[in-house]
Symmetry: C2
Subunit: 543 residues, 2 copies
Amino acid sequence: MAETALQLDSRDNVLVALQPLAAGTGVRFGAASTSVTEDIPAKHKMALEDLAPGDVIRMYGMVVGEVTQPIPRGGLVSTRNVRHRAEAYSATRQPVSFTLPDAAPWTERTFMGYRRADGQVGTRNYWLVLPLVFCENRNVERMKEALEEELGYGSEGNSYRQHVRKLLQQKKAANSATASAKETSAARVFPNVDGIRFLTHQGGCGGTRQDAQALCGLLAGYIHHPNVAGATVLSLGCQNAEIRMLMDELRARDPQMTKPVLVFDQQKSGRDSTLMGSALDATFAALEEANSATRSAAPLSALTVGLKCGGSDGFSGISANPALGYLSDLLVQLGSKTLLSEFPELHGVEQELINRCVTDEVAQRFYDLMHAYSARAKAVHSGFDMNPSPGNIQDGLITDAIKSAGAARKGGVSPVRDVIDFPQYATTPGLNLLCTPGNDVECVTAQSGAGANLVLFTTGLGTPTGNPVAPVVKISTNSQLADRMADIIDFDAGGIITGEKTIAECASELLEFCIGVANGERLTKAEQLGQYDFIPWKRGVSL
Amino acid sequence: MAETALQLDSRDNVLVALQPLAAGTGVRFGAASTSVTEDIPAKHKMALEDLAPGDVIRMYGMVVGEVTQPIPRGGLVSTRNVRHRAEAYSATRQPVSFTLPDAAPWTERTFMGYRRADGQVGTRNYWLVLPLVFCENRNVERMKEALEEELGYGSEGNSYRQHVRKLLQQKKAANSATASAKETSAARVFPNVDGIRFLTHQGGCGGTRQDAQALCGLLAGYIHHPNVAGATVLSLGCQNAEIRMLMDELRARDPQMTKPVLVFDQQKSGRDSTLMGSALDATFAALEEANSATRSAAPLSALTVGLKCGGSDGFSGISANPALGYLSDLLVQLGSKTLLSEFPELHGVEQELINRCVTDEVAQRFYDLMHAYSARAKAVHSGFDMNPSPGNIQDGLITDAIKSAGAARKGGVSPVRDVIDFPQYATTPGLNLLCTPGNDVECVTAQSGAGANLVLFTTGLGTPTGNPVAPVVKISTNSQLADRMADIIDFDAGGIITGEKTIAECASELLEFCIGVANGERLTKAEQLGQYDFIPWKRGVSL
Ligand SMILES: [Ca+2]
Ligand SMILES: [Ca+2]
Ligand SMILES: [Ca+2]
Ligand SMILES: [Ca+2]
Ligand SMILES: [Ca+2]
């Protein structure tokens, strides 16, 4: 008989329900069993002993909460009787031991990628169009409108115009009003350009100088990204994020300035139509050049992989996140870079990560970033403990430390080679910690700006997130979700919950899947839906 | 002979150059004259006396800077020799005297507007489609793609597809590649619906609870806005900004809940196509109903007017902003509401505004909001003095206090009837202070969310800002700009600089122009360009 609940670590005083547990029934976990005294929804936690106010809740062997109301053995752990609590930590590293999975079967594997002049390898070949300030968003959108449909990057496969047309026909039958429109689509004019990606954002002026600088750093990261052939940049003229600021940030990432960057300034151009005409002409010519790129075999070490969870549930930390951790442990042995981010969701596991840092200096950097971030949240009367969303809580992630303990498993057990801050670019092979919010889109935006040419995103509740330049593979933590939201989920890790698959099996299948995505043979669901989310993290204030 | 420089107040120790002043020439101001010892670019300031480090710079009779390097009489005031300084202020009101312009010619005037069930009157009739969280942006954009072209709200007049098509034809002539596409456009199916406006934003989750609440307040303000007939709302499901939070905020603004609000939840819908199909069907039916609205005559008291400056130059505080102030002084006498915002740009004129507040309580509220905002900027190592942008500085607004002294003139001389904080809705007739950043789009977004059914936006450098629900009239501070960027400027106040027009004449013409816009007879340049900027002010942190 399969287990119906899981004790994640022998030190834990709660079980995770793998399915709904009814009051009065018994529950098996490992070789043991106990009785249920209160209905426990799937994904939620049941007390393994009588708990009194002040007692700590342990999961994954870690402190994840504090009891506020008595909970009997067999009773439900909830926001009514438990509050967030996390273990204190110091910057001093303690020795750790760990075992890495065998990466030998993967050492000779390659993917078909675009080799860039700077040595990086892309999994896609895009042209970027981006504004230095929000005032230019509308012009970027008009370039999109003009270029996408005419050059064959349109939305036919993904349009609801036909649906509206049917509504119109019904209306027409009912009364005399009439309307008609015909959809047409062009063949792809530049077949080796996988797309033109149009970024819009809300920064570049009306804020702090630091945020303007960080925005330029992020945009430079996108231009430097291996999936990008070059960029068209629109400037208004008077904004904080000046053209030279972007160019300095780009030079810091690519001293040879190997990529074409076409810059246009509206206040210098005068008429809007002058600006648009010049930008379109130059972009068109640049696309012809970008179209000369072709794919060739590259080692897996050329991958930079963002690790992300969002819309998490009580199974995230048991199925999909550990599978990602296993995959990360494989990849870092092959020389790839992996990025663990979402710092508010590392609150509670700081000491474990500090212990895994390869030097005191790296550990100190993580310690300092966590402290500064936490202080800033408290300064606005919030805190890391406010991270779990209503959906998280309803699905069993009732404290930030519970969420964190599961979230951190995406990083596996490998040493932490480097710690970098937004909007830095990742340059160190191995596991990197990249300081970002847990906010899904801000995090994926930052990972991509750090050079991620692949993002692996686990979800228990289902969320459609994608990115303009990195393919985002969405992995469900449970099979119900993979089935119910098949149009946004790429890969199902639910077999780990049902016992059909081990974490190692699931991770191997996922890596195979990822190579197909990296090759361009497989488009992610987000790419199919045209879901290109982009939100730069703004840390300062508006002025 | 016309003046070539202006002494704005008899207490001022600097002149504003109305045109470039060459070293060695003389300059006339009022009845006086003096000699120029250094080239002074137009819009910049010249010292009227020898100034030593520590001396204060006075403009509009107010302290706007402190001298850091000696400046000889006739020399240029610049960031090299002057830094920001502003006068201290207290919450205690001092008596003020003021003279209002004669509003009698306008008392019987009306505009043709849409009367809503709640008594408000719209200048436009829109249907709104908006997401509760950024995860739904893509679905909102797909609804836009499906509805706009099919229902006749497309971009033909404003599209660059034809431009790209020409480039393709040239390419075709050069080699054998081919592509073709035909643009089609539908007649407007619902002629009394002026548009469907699709909002996207970057909030609703991954941040503080306070920001989720503020976002719901802002979105409720947009739904409650007199230009809006009703709304379609997309929810993911697990986000912080829950459906009930939006509904509570809407009820607080409109206790009778008079407008149709259609809500769809993706996680409850399962397939993306189920969500999209239901949302489109219901929206289509609601548009039929919204189409029954018609315009009728309404008094000018039904106007709520946002006062805004952006991309400001050294003439903003001399021409367009005083014209707006005059107009505001007319409107408040007619019972309209006017909104002065951009609090970082009121730094330096706090005492003047406090003195004008109608009660101690209103004054204290303004004092408290300015203090809290300033403290928050300092906490992230910034400050109100960082507000001027590179473009502002280059065009003569070298300190925040100089910028503020000119910016505050948009509010005229009328009493301050109320002080409200973002995202509150304005309900008090007369001049209101609404706490927002100077950030152009965040400010206009907030003014519209406070009920502005018209926004007047002055600019010296040229900026394309528009809003999804409020028409934004853009007023140039100088005629060169009106000519050079004719496609984004609606009204030229430059005649005040050349001496062709008085402030009163300019304000009267502008009010006449605004009535045409309110009637819907006249579309603003932003409406013609489809410039619908929307950025909710986020005060907290990402988590
Ligand atoms: Ca997460
Ligand atoms: Ca999340
Ligand atoms: Ca957008
Ligand atoms: Ca301003
Ligand atoms: Ca500005």
